[in-house]
Amino acid sequence: MKTMLNSALKSAVVALSLLCLPVVAHAQDALESITKAGVLKVAVPQDFPPFGSVGPDMKPRGYDIDMAELIAKGLGVKTELVPVTSANRIPYLTTGKVDLVISSLGKNPDREKVIDFSLPYAPFYNGVFGPEGLSISGPEQLAGKVVGVTRGSIEDLELTKVAPATADVKRYEDNNGTISAFLSGQVELVATGNVVAAAILEKNPPKKPLLKFLIKNSPNYVGINKGETALTEKVNAIITAARADGSLDAISKTWLGAPLPASF
């Protein structure tokens, strides 16, 4: 019994000290191991339409999923889609459980310290939406208003930048929380994507989300582990090619209902 405990203690100490060391999780170059395995593991959203949500078969579909397929095709490998949430998408990447995160990631300086970003692959049409009769035409008019947004999303990052300090921003776990909060009257306004607002309008709810103003158009990026230069370059090359040959435009038309903006 005593020796058992001793060895248990020892392994605990070893485990703890390992935690404190910089751990070498991916000794191999990521691009090399992807090609070797023939599989590209991609973290995709499943609670964030139109970028990723599920169909009746519970399989993810959306802009980000098509993007994953496009990059895998460019690499000549198959995809393995890993559905993630905003809470766990980065740990999936940093612990090497996936090779790429294509999950409507926005960029900020803090985030860039942790992972690398590709070239932008999708435009993001974000706006602040509210019911008829509420007259709001710019961020400064959000003062004193209650605005719902999905936590960690691009619209959250952008809204936080432009909203005045007196705006009461409520951050929900996923789109569903944000939308439910709007429809149930918990918030007066929501910041979300055009397509999401359109989808709600289609259901003809008693409370209609109408566009009040557009938030800065900030694009989505593919997330890649730090230092994987070869993979980043390859992904960038695939994105550039897809922009040139129109395949990215096609994805945009399918899921966002509009071609890529000229400035993109």
């Binding site: 935690l19 751990v23 999780a25 599920v54 009746p56 519970m58 612990t95 996923d174 569903n176 939308i179």
Partner: protein
């Protein structure tokens, strides 16, 4: 958006229910086995062993299961152990369940009258023999009802495994609501399915409790 028929919603929730059930069973069996070991250590006459298990129980009862799962799954990867999600979920749920079961069972063991210990030690039984032949059989009778009662908590606790990628009942509900924007219908069904899974367990615990009360 995508069109889900009512039958699609029910069917997909039922498919996800399998994970909820499977994870519950794994947690309960694993947690029961480990819990028994923890119980023995917790009741040991060695002080350091009691302290160690107290710390173990404190940690697993005192932190959210969500964090335990997260740190197990992703933390093990950081130290170079790439465990699959089912193993991490099974491990974390087992540890969590064992801490609670060990505490529940300790209460039951302590309810066994002191004289039983004294009598059995006067028969020169070792600690493990005392446990095996005298104390546990009596404690077991007291333990059945609260143990089954706790299984309801385990069933509901499996919901947080979605943080490491399991699409169990709650997660499936969230995913479907995000595609259909019908939270009331979907979460109503989710609640109903949990109830159908848990209520029989609760009833069973109750009737056993009554039975043992009557026997006493």
């Amino acid at each position: 958006m995508v069109e889900f028929a009512f039958s699609d919603i029910v069917w997909n929730l039922l498919l996800a229910l399998r994970w909820t059930a499977l994870l519950s069973v794994v947690a309960f069996i694993g947690g029961g086995a480990v819990g028994l070991l923890v119980l023995l250590a917790r009741l040991s006459s060695r002080r350091w062993l009691r302290r160690l298990t107290r710390g173990y129980i404190e940690v697993f009862q005192g932190t959210p299961l969500l964090m335990q799962l997260f740190l197990t799954f992703f933390g093990l990867s950081l130290v170079g152990l790439d465990v699959p999600a089912w193993l991490a979920a099974g491990l974390a749920l087992t540890l969590f369940t064992s801490a609670f079961l060990a505490e529940i069972w300790r209460g039951c063991v302590e309810a066994v009258p002191r004289g039983q210990w004294e009598a059995s030690s006067s028969l020169a039984l070792t600690y493990l023999e005392q446990m095996r032949w005298v104390i546990l059989p009596q404690a077991l009778r007291l333990a059945v009802a609260p143990t089954i009662g706790f299984s309801v908590q385990v069933v509901k606790g499996t919901a947080v495994t979605s943080i490491i990628g399991f699409v169990e009942l709650t997660k499936a509900g969230t995913m479907i609501t995000n595609a259909t924007f019908q939270p009331f219908l979907v979460y109503g069904l989710v609640a109903l399915f949990y109830f159908l899974l848990c209520f029989p367990l609760s009833l069973c615990a109750k009737s056993l409790e009554r039975k043992f009360h009557a026997a006493r």
